[in-house]
Amino acid sequence: MVESIYPSKDAHGIWVYLEHTGGRFEGVSLELLGRGRALADTTGENLTALLLSGDGSALAEEALGYGADEVLLAHHPALSVYTTLPSARVVADLIIHRRPNILLLGATVNGRDLAGRLAVRLLTGLTADCTDLLIDKESGLLSGEVTGFGQGILATIQCPDTRPQMATVRPGVFARPVFDPARCGRTEVIAVEIPEDDQHVQVLRQSSRRGVDITQAERLVIGGRGIQGDFALLRRLARALNADLGATRVAVDQGWIGHDRMVGQTGSVTRPKLALVCGASGAMQFTVGIQESETIVAINSDPEAPIFEVADYCIADDVFQVLPQLIEALDREMAGRKG
């Protein structure tokens, strides 16, 4: 049995680490406030939000409106852009002093970067990229549901003995809570000291992506022969899905789109979480480029098209009928979520 840095009986409170850029919260941080609220209500604990930033943040009020009972606000110039050590220092110190039961972070690149470091600093258990979180009302024991082996296996992970119980949560799994401006709570400004030695890692610059690299795409919309050159339609779909755009060899040959977007054996091999393939028949030389996707959706008017053999969700219908409906439905869905 691993010894906890503080006993479970002293561990109270559900904490959520909030990520933010340019004055806005990351979607997953809000989702965690929503789920965190539900967990806290189940056990009767408080929901605390951690907000680290370079200067006084107006986001504290917002966090309260999304369900936090209290916001711990830490400012330091070293926190203005995320790097591991300053954030790990602040969060670990807070946890050691205040002894929460649970710490939740979004399973974003930086969320996982931080969580992995913290878990070792705090000598505690961390459950990665959860697709569900449940809590035991009496004991406050968290169960995290995770996938493994290429999404083939579902496992339930628990951290029975050490505190805090840590988990990173997959973005998009939980619903965003409704903002309630009338919600009250307390904000506490934390005095922060970050040693020089923690500040040697520098972010030189941050940019949005220029140039095309679909191999890193998390969501991909791919057009084949069947879209008859209408990449404008596919672009709208890609925008609605916050996805990148790809193409089969045929589409590239026809000059409908650039070679840098070609998916397949002699193009790019991609591993998106979601691949939406429109109007492609599904020759092996193409499917090699998407076969590692978590989920594949195929839309093709030919119900016998081989693409359906390698798809999870199949729509045997006219792309030009289905896509406009899909775009509309997605726009509605996204508008609803922002609420």
Binding site: R225, V250, T266, V269, M284, Q285, E309
Partner: protein
């Protein structure tokens, strides 16, 4: 006048030695007539032809190549014309082998070798799914008492288009009542991708392992779907007592000749036949596929102007299936036009790479002509006989 740096050509003795060793001195007889450059199909599709003659010269002198050898589809149209019998395709592959040693191979090629290593096929497909193509039919495990080992190969096992050829053959074998078996999901890759992409060191491991396997299993006659696999077994594997690798067209021609395969009804179709390079020019198998087609009553075979030893390559050999060829520069675009000019309804071939390339080009034309493998034509003809 001061000479620019680039005008000075350096002869590298150690490179010359490596090339001589890698090619077994094969490039020495070349007397630079240039017929190879003229014969090379790239000249039909690119502004500048691939200068085969120059490549041979550089190899002779120990001058660094510029990656030109990666263009070669090993169609051997050049060898057909070479007055000195230089094995030009082998020289190309030997130069590729040197590129591996020098770490100057193009992008996209290392992953193919790792795919062979980890997955046992060049298509990144899971080894556990190699025999999935045969799920719907009854195919038993090979026994030495079987007449032959049916060797589907990586492309027919995994490519949904070529799986149809393997399935057609299983049906034909059933109709003819021949006894055969496969190695199921333990079927090893023949190593063609390693051969074609110049990774000859790794090829030796594959060949060694597979030869021992064939001997253990008591394999004698092997019938392959792909001419590439047959070529590997025939020319790259060490001699094994009684080992006889056949392409399926040779086997079917034999069945027909022996009266074990008969066509009862008419199968009306106008067809033309594309000789795969690895069946025809490489191993001289021109007649068997034609005998098979000739045995089908009602089938009218018209030849393309470039047939048999003069057949135009589809562009898929020499590892080019794993390299990108720009639209407008594909051999198969020309070949398909040649086929369309014959007025044939069906373009028949006998190789999975040829099918992929030819169908790809045919799709662009919007023509109703279809590409079929000989096996699919035979299967179609047999079911016509059954009133199907």
């Amino acid at each position: 006048m001061k000479r620019k740096r680039e005008d000075v050509i350096t002869l590298d003795d150690s490179l010359w030695e490596r090339v001589m060793a890698a090619t077994d001195g094969a490039v020495a007889p070349c007397y630079q007539c240039g017929v190879c450059t003229a014969a090379c199909p790239w000249g039909l599709l690119q502004e500048e032809p691939v200068n085969v003659r120059s490549l041979m010269r550089r190899a002779q002198l120990g001058i660094h190549q510029d990656g030109e050898m990666w263009w070669c589809t090993t169609c051997r149209a050049c060898e057909e014309q070479c007055p000195r019998g230089v094995p030009i395709a082998d020289v190309m592959l030997a130069l590729r082998r040197l590129a591996w040693q020098d770490r100057t191979i193009p992008e996209g090629i290392s992953p193919v070798m790792w795919s062979l290593y980890w997955d046992g096929n060049p298509w990144r497909q899971p080894p556990s799914q190699r025999a999935v193509w045969a799920r719907g039919v009854t195919v038993k495990r090979f026994q030495p008492s079987d007449e032959f080992l049916f060797y589907a190969g990586c492309t027919a096992s995994y490519d949904n288009r070529s799986q149809k050829v393997a399935l057609a053959l299983v049906g034909i074998f059933g109709t003819a009542g021949v006894s055969f078996g496969t190695l199921g999901d333990e079927e090893p890759c023949c190593g063609d991708a390693a051969y074609a992409l110049g990774q000859h060191d790794y090829l030796q491991q594959i060949v060694q392992r597979n030869s021992e396997r064939f001997v253990e299993e008591g394999v004698q006659t092997v019938v392959t779907v792909s001419p590439h696999c047959q070529d590997m077994f025939l020319n790259q594997y060490p001699p094994i007592e009684g080992f006889q690798p056949l392409h399926y067209t040779q086997y079917l021609a034999q069945l027909i000749q022996d009266g074990r395969l008969r066509f009862e009804a008419e199968y009306q179709v106008k067809a033309t036949f594309h000789d795969p390079c690895y069946l025809g020019r490489r191993n001289g198998v021109y007649d068997p596929p034609r005998h098979v087609l000739a045995a089908i009553p009602g089938l009218e075979l018209v030849e393309m102007p470039q047939n048999r030893a003069e057949a135009l390559c589809c562009g898929g050999g020499g590892g080019r299936m794993w390299m990108d060829t720009k639209a407008g520069e594909r051999f198969s675009d020309l070949r398909v036009r040649e086929a369309l000019d014959t007025g044939a309804e069906v373009l028949v071939t006998a190789c999975p790479h040829c099918i992929a390339c030819l169908e790809d080009s045919l799709k662009q034309t919007g023509s109703p002509m279809r590409v079929m493998d000989v096996a699919e034509v035979v299967a179609g003809a047999l079911s016509a006989g059954r009133g199907a």
